[in-house]
Amino acid sequence: MKPVDALSSLKDIEGVYGSFVVDGTGSVTLRDLPSVIDNAALREAGPRIARLWGAFPDDDPPEYVLLEFSAHQVFIRKCEAGSLCVFVPPSVNRAALKMAATFVARWLDAELAVPSVSIEPSPVSEPPPASQPAPPVRKTTYFYRGQRYEG
């Protein structure tokens, strides 16, 4: 399945107009929207959407934001890939939308994730004398798509 197909799956929820994804900086990375919403509008809105998560308390991880306008709403779900934004009418089945957005966000996170290598802070120590052999290189363990790798 292509990422844009994942976004299209949100249209299974009755009334969904379309959706798009912005990354952590607010750049648009995916879109499945009618041409009525042009890319210039998304470029302008993207950074503001990314900054919305800053309005949450520090000790409370954000789940979603629902922005209501007179005629439609924008449902924004936080995910590792950034923010998944869905245009919906006010009459949308919100419970179904939340669930569908959760599935799509998980799928996007799994597909678009960059393998994260855990970097351990190097211990502060005196440099070894030049005559001593170099210590063995420590292997780093990391996980990518559920698989464990070392290297």
Partner: protein, 305 residues
Amino acid sequence: MSETTASETLTMELAGDGPRDPGPVDAAPSDADEETLESDAAMEVDVDEVMVPPASPTGFQAFLQHANLHNLLQIEGLSRTTGVFLVVSQGRRGYLHLSNGELFHAEAGTVTGEVAASQILSWGDGEFKSCNKPLATTATIHVSLQALLLRLAKDSDEAAQSERRVAQPVEPRPIEEDKPTEPHLPAPNLLATPGDPRRAGAPPPRSSRVPPPLPPRIEREASNVTEVLISPAGEMIQGRGTGSDEFSARVAYAARLAELIGRAIRSGSPTALELRGKGTQTTVKWQPDGNIAATLESVQSPKMR
């Protein structure tokens, strides 16, 4: 050679580049408009209605081959135009009335309002021009232009999708698949004697089956609520609950971002905002006087009884 289909061709005629009001209905056409008016007549358009530019024209006339009506209307929306536009397409004609860029009335034949706007905006080719028709005095469209265009785009997507589904051949299913998955109850006896509750028209006998149990009640912990009322300038007018100062600052920031997002996507001002975290829910509402009311509730995980 570029291929241009009929659906991609739209003519646009504008008589000014700024906000416009319809000109006087009885203005005399100038020589420069003769050609335009002749073509209008060919399309069964009332010559009197076509906008007559003033003696010193202030705007451009454009012939756009790949424009669609939605884009043209969005341009007028962004320009905050006030005026009436005549749309002619394949012998059909309609009028779109705009005030400050917002579509507030539409006419197509005998229909008006959103139905007429939907009809007109579904036309794929034709002409779009300013006209002298007076602005309607009452609004028949109460949704924003953006919302209307979104809805139409969605309807069009769904229509195209269902057409594709129809076009796909349907494979015949083996008869076995139509077998019921569980034994059926015997059919009611329609020939039962009068007075018999089982006769036709009488409600079927109640099932002796016990209905499934209701799902367990969800009980929430008593919530800790913080409420604030903020002025449009971001000052806290009222505050109640713990941490109301910090909460009002966060609300003012989120509300400002929401307003900017609404402006960017041309959806207008937001009416409400909900921020849901793992443990808290913030509800923000814009009030008619411009103030912003917000509530912070701590939301505990639902507990099953």
